[in-house]
């Protein structure tokens, strides 16, 4: 299709064309009305004047006979700016008047007529139009009285024609304007289309141009850009996760394979086979856990656990999970301090919150430094009420996380350098973050000086649990 064809098919152009047609129709009807009215005015004035005059002439004839009439007509015909007058005898011989050369057939019947004529005194002039009335008088005399209606033509020339021309100009300008506006719109749209095509082709960093005028295209571009931003972030996240999964699953899979291969090569005694098989099962269990954790995160992020949500007491859950870990902490030489303000009714998936809390306490115990003699290490779990939110804090006195790494620490499979040597999948904190977001809460990693404080806030369910 040609570019002009494309132009005509745009919504903007169609709109402009429709407006133009409507406006032209309106303007034309106004002009027609105006023309018709002025014409009527001219005619009715002429009609009235002719009517008056013919009455006067008839009157004069009745009073003074043909001689008087000849006199009156002659006088009137000579007056400046006069109408048309003609008086003939029964055989058509002109007796008086100013249109003596008028063809006689005009006088053959009485009544109103519109005629073209040339005045006697200016015989060489152009013909002009007039409205006339033919009177048959007693004695076979015929009189013609008329008025120029050349004003009507004049009016048409002055009003109607410029108006019509104006209309033509308007339509032309309107179409030109439509083409101009449409081309501008089309240009923006084409730009957007071109940009989105490069984005579709893989350039996820591409953004739509915003020209800063704040018009509807800018607003559209801004919101599309925001969407692209989000998609890019998600894609980046996905890519990172895929890379990490590939890495973090390949490591245990390789180990698994190596162990089996090693057993095949070297194991001879039953116990050796048995030990190798047990290691294989343990290694598989580790893989299964990673998959479970990934699935759980994915489902929490997708909001799929919402149907399992109930109202439960967060304080009770915190106490229970802490109690589950208390002996482990004790073995590690740590104090597990629990401070709760029951009741803290929260709507959510109790199991997921329990799992999240368990991950946090497990981390806190794992990264505490019981070897440091200075103070007895503590892991503190507090659950309290902060306005309309429940605040859950798990704090340890370990090495903590430097501020720069805190956001990254919540991401999937991120294992900060120093923890690479420790066992773990790098999924625990990201599971916690996913669970917290699923429940409409917030999570923050803070400095416990020394150590890490994980602060979670969840909305309280105002009606207490039944």
């Amino acid at each position: 299709m040609t570019s002009l064809g494309r132009l005509f098919r745009t919504t903007a152009f169609k709109l402009i064309a429709a407006y133009l047609v409507a406006f032209a129709l309106f303007a034309a009807s106004v002009i027609a009305y105006l023309g018709w009215h002025t014409q009527r005015l001219v005619i009715s004035q002429a009609t009235e004047a002719i009517q008056n005059e013919s009455q006067i002439l008839e009157e004069q004839y009745r009073v003074g006979g043909i001689n008087r009439l000849v006199q009156v007509v002659s006088r009137r015909a000579r007056a400046p700016g006069a109408g048309l007058y003609l008086l003939t005898s029964f055989n058509g011989e002109p007796l008086a008047g100013n249109v003596l050369n008028l063809p006689l057939h005009f006088l053959e019947s009485p009544g109103w007529k519109e005629i073209e004529y040339v005045r006697s005194e200016e015989a060489r002039g152009a013909p002009s139009r007039a409205l006339v009335k033919v009177l048959f008088l007693p004695g076979e005399f015929r009189a013609l009285v008329g008025r120029d209606i050349v004003e009507r033509e004049e009016l048409r020339r002055i009003i109607i024609q410029p108006a019509l021309w104006g209309l033509v100009v308007l339509v032309v300008l309107g179409l030109a304007g439509g083409v101009f506006v449409t081309r501008r719109v089309l240009k923006r749209i084409d730009q957007m289309t071109a940009t989105s095509e490069t984005i579709m082709a893989g350039n996820l960093a591409g953004r739509l141009a915003v020209d800063g005028t704040g018009d509807e295209f800018d607003r559209l571009a801004l919101s599309l850009n925001a969407m692209l931003e989000r998609i890019e972030a998600l894609m980046m996240g996905l890519r990172e996760v895929t890379d990490n999964i590939a890495h973090d699953l390949k490591t245990p899979l390789t180990r698994l394979r190596n162990q089996a291969e090693d057993a095949l090569r070297t194991a001879g005694k039953d116990e050796e086979w048995r030990a190798a098989t047990e290691r294989t099962i343990e290694e598989s269990d580790g893989l299964i856990r990673i998959f479970d954790a990934l699935l759980m995160i994915a489902r929490a992020e997708a909001g799929q656990a919402r149907e399992a949500m109930v109202v439960f007491d967060l304080a009770e859950t915190a106490t229970n999970v802490a109690e589950l870990y208390e002996p482990v902490a004790d073995e590690e030489g740590l104090d597990l301090v629990v401070e709760v303000q029951p009741p803290l009714p929260v709507r959510g998936a109790r199991e997921l919150i329990g799992q999240a809390l368990s991950n946090l306490i497990d981390n806190a115990i794992k990264y505490s430094r019981p070897d440091l003699p200075a103070t007895r290490n503590k892991v503190t779990i507090t659950a309290s009420r902060e306005g309309a939110r429940a605040r859950l804090v798990v704090a340890d006195q370990g090495a903590g996380i430097p501020e720069a790494d805190r956001v990254r620490a919540l991401e999937r499979f991120v294992r900060l350098e120093a923890s690479r040597t420790q066992p773990g999948s790098g999924l625990g904190l990201s599971l916690v973050a996913a669970v917290v977001h699923l429940h409409g809460g917030t999570i923050a990693l803070e400095d416990n000086a020394p150590g890490l404080r994980v602060v979670i806030e969840l909305p309280l369910e105002e009606t207490p649990p039944a």
Partner: protein
Amino acid sequence: MAYMVMSTNPAHISSAPSTTTSDYQPIERSLVAPNAEDFTMRLLVVEDDRDAADYLRKAFREAGHVVDHAADGEEGLVLALDGGYDVLIVDRMLPRRDGLSLVAELRGRGDKTPTLILSALGQVDDRVTGLRAGGDDYLPKPYAFSELLARVEALARRGGPQAADTVYRVADLELDRLAHRVTRGGQEIVLQPREFRLLEYLMRHAGQVVTRTMLLENVWDYHFDPQTNVIDVHVSRLRSKIDKGFEPPLLHTVRGAGYIVRDIAR
């Protein structure tokens, strides 16, 4: 910077309790070897995957049980309605009639045969829908056979005390459920409330292997993965209270499976 995130170190998962009572020798139990005081269960496995079904049939038979197999939901329903099974093991996704509908249909007809649902769907809400449909237990795939066996044995509820019993006894260990009192050889043992519930569960299933996840589910009411050996530490503490200084030991670790309370001398 030492934060990472969760332990997947397999060493934590299945190792015997590491510390306080290391004088304890774990019982060796092959994954499929029958228990000492075993009984024979009649089981129905409804599973469409032939390999999985063959594996289950073989493993349960080696554990001394009788196994029937149905390859789809309709066949499973017909066999189950014929009755006579101690436990049904039903896969959740089956051709012709899915596992949940099978269980719901059985329950609708008043059949109360204990049923364990197996499923690749292992999330909290899947479990909830599984149990709501009438299942008595829910085990996500992939599972360890020892876990399945322990759960099926627990469902069969044979050999242990009846639900109405108020006092559980194993050798000279007595647990009074009403008085919340535990004695061994007439000597009172003071337990924390949680330790009491732990022992209560173990003794209710005396003679049966109880897995760590079963303990977490039934004593703590959580189904999540505790990652570290938390249960082992709780059991070690309990063991140090009920077995230390007494003969014979009653609370045993079953390697690769879990724990069992029983009187070996019997």
